[in-house]
């Protein structure tokens, strides 16, 4: 099979995710956009794995998923803590980590 269509889809998803991270202020939405990018990458890997008939890409996808899950746990708890203290999830407001 040809992976072309999967790659196009992944590219579209990744672009949506990247633009989402750059454009949206809401931390939760940015977070979802990040997930979108990760999954776009997963999709590409699975597609190529299928095309080449190997399993490496699929195994790698599992790693990405595990890491994403762990990242969600940490990331969401940080967002919750920020929300509790500042009553807002705006990323622009939380800009204290600078010199």
């Amino acid at each position: 099979m040809s992976p072309d269509n999967y790659v196009y889809l992944a590219a579209i998803l990744f672009t949506i995710g990247a633009i989402g991270v750059m454009v949206r202020r809401n931390a939760l939405v940015a977070f979802m956009s990040v997930e979108l990018m990760l999954n776009a990458a997963n999709l590409v890997m699975v597609a190529f794995a299928l095309a080449r008939g190997g399993l490496d890409g699929q195994v790698a996808t599992f790693f990405v998923m595990v890491v994403a899950a762990a990242e969600v746990v940490v990331g969401l708890s940080i967002i919750i803590v920020i929300y509790r203290t500042r009553r807002s999830t705006s990323m622009d407001a939380a800009s204290l980590l600078k010199l």
Binding site: A18, M22, M91, D92
Partner: protein
């Protein structure tokens, strides 16, 4: 001539290292144990030097009893440096020359120690003073007893250190601190010559032992013989305060008076003469270097005497006189085999009478509340009977009054100088006349004439610890000449290769001429300063060339300043400026640049997550573009 052979040390000789070790140990104890020894330490120091003197005396008597062939004893101590190219053994050489020096150093040095007990009685740092004195003695003994030039150099530097510590002993006086520094630095110039000489010896002979150098000197290339000779002369000039390295000696008077006596009579300045005589084989192989020694000696004997005539500071007159007398010794040492014994002879008699007069001057200063200006003295002969009589003995010895010590030793040098060259002889003869003039002037201004004492000064005779040393030294100032006149040439012949001259008690023609010149010097001094002549409280202004030159030490300091100090200062100022502008500028500029760039870069860290995301995306796109372009290319 007796050939020089060296026999191995046996019996008492194997203990000769004790001579050096005892004062060194005493110095260490005095410095380490601190205040515990404040009350008694000085006697420990005196005992150490006395013990050294006893060892030296016993060894001397042993040598006297030995066959002339067996009078040079080598005492190996240990192997000091071992490299594939050189093996340097530290050892002592007890021979006719070194034992005489050891006796002079420990004998006169010991007497000066005793004197210092009284002189420094009220100084709260007396213990430290005695520690330094002992260090001085130990270093000087190392210098003269060493059997090779490298060990000699250790003593040489030790003497430099001790003189620095002692000249600057009253360090609370800026002038004393400056004088100590000056002495140290000028000595370093001489030491440079000394190190060059030792390095040349190691390169040419593969050894710095006296025996090897003496054996190899005759076969040496004339160029290298001359070079080594001149290097040694430079070293000798530094230590012995010969022109052109003479300027430190007059400033060295800032030290306590016993130090002056020690430096001028028993140690330090005699080292240069010792070095030249010890290296006679080199100088015999290098006539140019030997001539240079004669010239340096002749010039210094006149310069020193000239300075002596125009100083009002009693110690500076004596300092000028030391320069002058050491000049005589250098002259004699430069003459060659005919002069070596006379150089050492004069050195020994000078050791007696100069120590005597310095200690006498100290006694006078003690009585006059540490005033050194002779214009404030006068009429002390009756008040200070012992000091006056002993000083008079030294005075008669230095001017060469018949029968006194200096008469024999100096006349021989003048005669030898005439044998060498009429002009050199004439210079030496004139020097004797000037010596008589300034010493008579010193005597008249100090002990005779009217009382010109400052208000509140009540002169008194010094305590016995100070007068007994004076009496001992005066005794030797009187008989030292007769004692050694007929003996010293034979004695020194094997060690120096000196030619024995017939000497007699009846003056030769030159002897009579010398006596006449000396009498003229005394007469002129009497005419100017004697009798009831008024001596003004301040030195009269003068435009006389000789007076102005003399009062300013022949502008020795000015010459040094213009030739050495000013260029060095200018160079160092230039370097400082270059350092500040060039190197500091480069380093600081780099820092300013980095911090400026960082300041700009810092603005990128604005805390906005979305802008970071933008940057990252832009970066990824950029990398992607590059990859694509590379692929295409």
């Amino acid at each position: 001539m007796i050939t020089l052979t060296t026999v191995a040390a046996t019996g008492l000789f194997s203990y000769s290292w004790l001579m050096i070790a005892l004062p060194a140990l005493a110095a260490a104890i005095l410095l380490v144990f601190g205040r515990i020894l404040d009350a008694s330490g000085h006697w420990l120091a005196v005992a150490a030097v006395a013990a050294s003197f006893v060892v030296a005396l016993v060894l001397f008597i042993q040598l006297l009893g030995a066959d002339p062939e067996a009078r040079s004893v080598a005492v190996p101590l240990y192997e000091w440096i071992h490299t594939p190219s050189w093996t340097i053994a530290a050892g002592l050489q007890i021979d006719q020359l070194s034992i005489l020096f050891a006796l002079l150093i420990t004998g006169v040095g010991g007497v000066i120690h005793v004197y210092s007990v009284g002189y420094m009685a009220h100084d709260e740092r007396r213990r430290r003073f005695f520690a330094y004195l002992n260090l001085f003695i130990a270093a000087m003994l190392t210098l003269v007893l060493a059997d090779n030039y490298l060990v000699l150099f250790v003593g040489w530097e030790g003497v430099g250190l001790a003189s620095y510590l002692l000249i600057g002993f009253w360090q609370h006086k800026p002038s004393a601190a400056a004088a100590a520094k000056k002495a140290f630095v000028m000595n370093r110039v001489g030491d440079l010559g000394m190190t060059f000489a030792v390095m040349a010896m190691l390169a040419l002979f593969g050894s710095s032992a006296f025996a090897d150098v003496n054996a190899g000197a005759a076969k040496l290339d004339p160029f290298w013989a001359t070079a080594i000779g001149l290097f040694l002369l430079l070293g000798a000039c530094g230590k012995s305060a010969q022109v052109p390295l003479q300027a430190w000696l007059l400033d060295a008077m800032e030290g306590p008076t016993p130090v002056s006596a020690l430096i001028h009579a028993a140690t330090m300045v005699t080292a240069g003469v010792y070095l030249v005589v010890r290296s006679h084989a080199i100088f015999e192989a290098a006539p140019i270097a030997a001539t240079a020694v004669v010239i340096v000696g002749t010039v210094t004997l006149l310069v020193g005497a000239w300075i002596g005539t125009s100083k009002d500071d009693i110690k500076k007159v004596l300092a000028g006189s030391t320069m002058s007398q050491i000049g005589y010794m250098m002259l004699a040492a430069g003459i060659g085999p005919a002069g070596y014994a006379f150089a050492i002879f004069h050195l020994l008699t000078h050791g007696f009478f100069k120590a005597n007069m310095f200690l006498g001057a100290g006694s006078v200063m003690h009585a006059m509340d540490d005033d050194v200006n002779m214009r404030n003295y006068g009429a002390l002969a009756k008040v200070m009977r012992v000091t006056f009589l002993t000083f008079a003995a030294g005075y008669l010895a230095i001017i060469g009054f018949p029968g006194f010590a200096g008469y024999f030793s100096k006349d021989h040098i003048i005669e030898a100088a005439f044998d060498l060259n009429v002009w050199v002889g004439l210079c030496a003869l004139i020097g004797a006349g000037i010596t008589a003039f300034y010493m008579t002037r010193l005597m008249l201004m100090t002990f005779f004439g009217e009382k010109r004492w400052q208000p509140g000064v009540h002169p008194h005779e010094s305590p016995w610890v100070m007068t007994v040393p004076l009496i001992i030294l005066a005794f030797f100032s009187v008989i030292g000449g007769v004692l050694m006149n007929f003996w010293i040439q034979d004695w020194l012949e094997p060690a120096t290769g000196a030619h024995v001259h017939e000497v007699s008690l009846v003056p030769s023609l030159i002897g009579w001429a010398t006596l006449a010149v000396v009498a003229a010097g005394i007469a002129i001094a009497w005419f100017v300063f004697g009798g009831t002549k008024k001596i003004p409280a301040t030195a009269p202004a003068s435009r006389n060339f000789f007076t102005v030159m003399g009062r300013n030490d022949l502008f020795g300091d000015a010459v040094n300043d213009t030739l050495v100090v000013a260029p060095t200062m200018a160079a160092s100022r230039g370097l400082v400026a270059a350092d500040r502008t060039l190197w500091d500028g480069a380093a600081n500029g780099l820092g300013v640049l980095t911090s400026g760039v960082s300041d700009r870069l810092r603005r990128l860290q604005n805390g906005q997550v979305r802008s970071y995301a933008l940057t990252m995306t832009a970066g990824v796109v950029l990398v992607g573009l590059v990859v694509v372009l590379v692929q295409l290319g």
